[in-house]
Symmetry: C2
Subunit: 196 residues, 2 copies
């Protein structure tokens, strides 16, 4: 089951969105129907519409909520006085945490965003692009100040982001190390790989 916020603050809409994230990850957005969603939530399809307008609205909600979390975190890191190495470690750990603890939503926002409708599609695409550029700018700063090896920043971003998305296989594996060990190992390999 998707990790759902617990307690009294959980609205019906939150439940619908979390359940939808799980459904979209399992079946893909295109193949998921509102009927499937109603069944998973345990309500009549018609009653979903008291809380949300459309399947497409749910996808927007998932994608932009995740994007906001990532951008907020990036801004905090950009504004800090940490070394580049520490900045990268903070960002890497944040990505890993998100992939572990908000797996369904992060997976859907990373894989299914192509199904967003305009104007959200173009907007989301430019958020993604600018996020990668800002990450690359941090790495470039580390190359310039000699904290990092003399590497191509976009390639380092590509490696970081794709390595983290590999946590998908971790979720699927039957025998797996625990989440803290996974995080520790990823940080050791990736951060040391970048360090000069």
């Amino acid at each position: 089951m998707a990790k759902i916020k617990s307690g009294q603050n959980l609205t019906k809409k939150d439940t619908i969105v979390s359940t939808a994230a799980l459904l979209f990850r399992e079946k893909g957005y295109a193949a998921s129907s509102m009927r499937d969603l109603a069944e998973k939530v345990g309500v009549e399809a018609a009653s979903l519409y008291n809380h949300i307008k459309s399947k497409s609205e749910i996808l927007q909600d998932i994608c932009f909520t995740v994007a906001n979390r990532f951008i907020t975190q990036l801004e905090k890191v950009e504004g800090s006085k940490d070394s580049v190495i520490d900045k990268i470690e903070t960002i890497l750990r944040f990505h890993i945490h998100e992939m572990i603890h908000h797996y369904e939503e992060v997976y859907v926002s990373d894989r299914e965003w192509k199904h967003l409708e305009e104007p959200y599609l173009t907007n989301f695409q430019s958020l993604r692009k600018s996020y990668r550029k800002r990450l690359a700018a941090i790495i470039d700063e580390g190359v310039r100040n000699k904290e990092l090896k003399d590497i191509d920043a976009p390639t380092a971003v590509l490696i970081m982001l794709h390595a983290v998305s590999g946590i998908e296989s971790w979720h699927r594996s039957i025998q797996k190390i625990d989440a803290d060990e996974l995080e520790k190992n990823m940080v050791v390999i990736m951060v040391e790989g970048l360090k000069k």
Copy 2:
């Protein structure tokens, strides 16, 4: 266009399979029809059947040809007297080359194998699993003999394989560094990250 073997050794079947790999990557296997394929090859749909039995046979051909290349290379590395670091570098460079120069086929075998029919599906799955195990065994050897950091081998495999599959974004980007630079950067980051 897919990279196609050139010259007189190129059979009609080779052309069909290469073109299919391109089509399956672009549209997905499920959504690709034999009619689409015929159009891309530039022949009548009926004439495809002089060379191949079915869409499913083409997918088998792609997946198992790629798998054989990877396994053959892995066996060569396993049998060598190289240090673990050199073994890993050789394997990593091989993966990168494959993702750069045989992109369509490698992408399809990595993403679309789930559409294989039995008994090929089960067979392919166990090839994938055993490949990852053998890679992990090499890394474990390096942990034991202190060439590598004290890392969890399956996590290192996950990072390596997913980072390399990130070359997909490289193919899609408009501004990109050249293939040799990409390879050099990936090797520096990944191999140094594993080294003790």
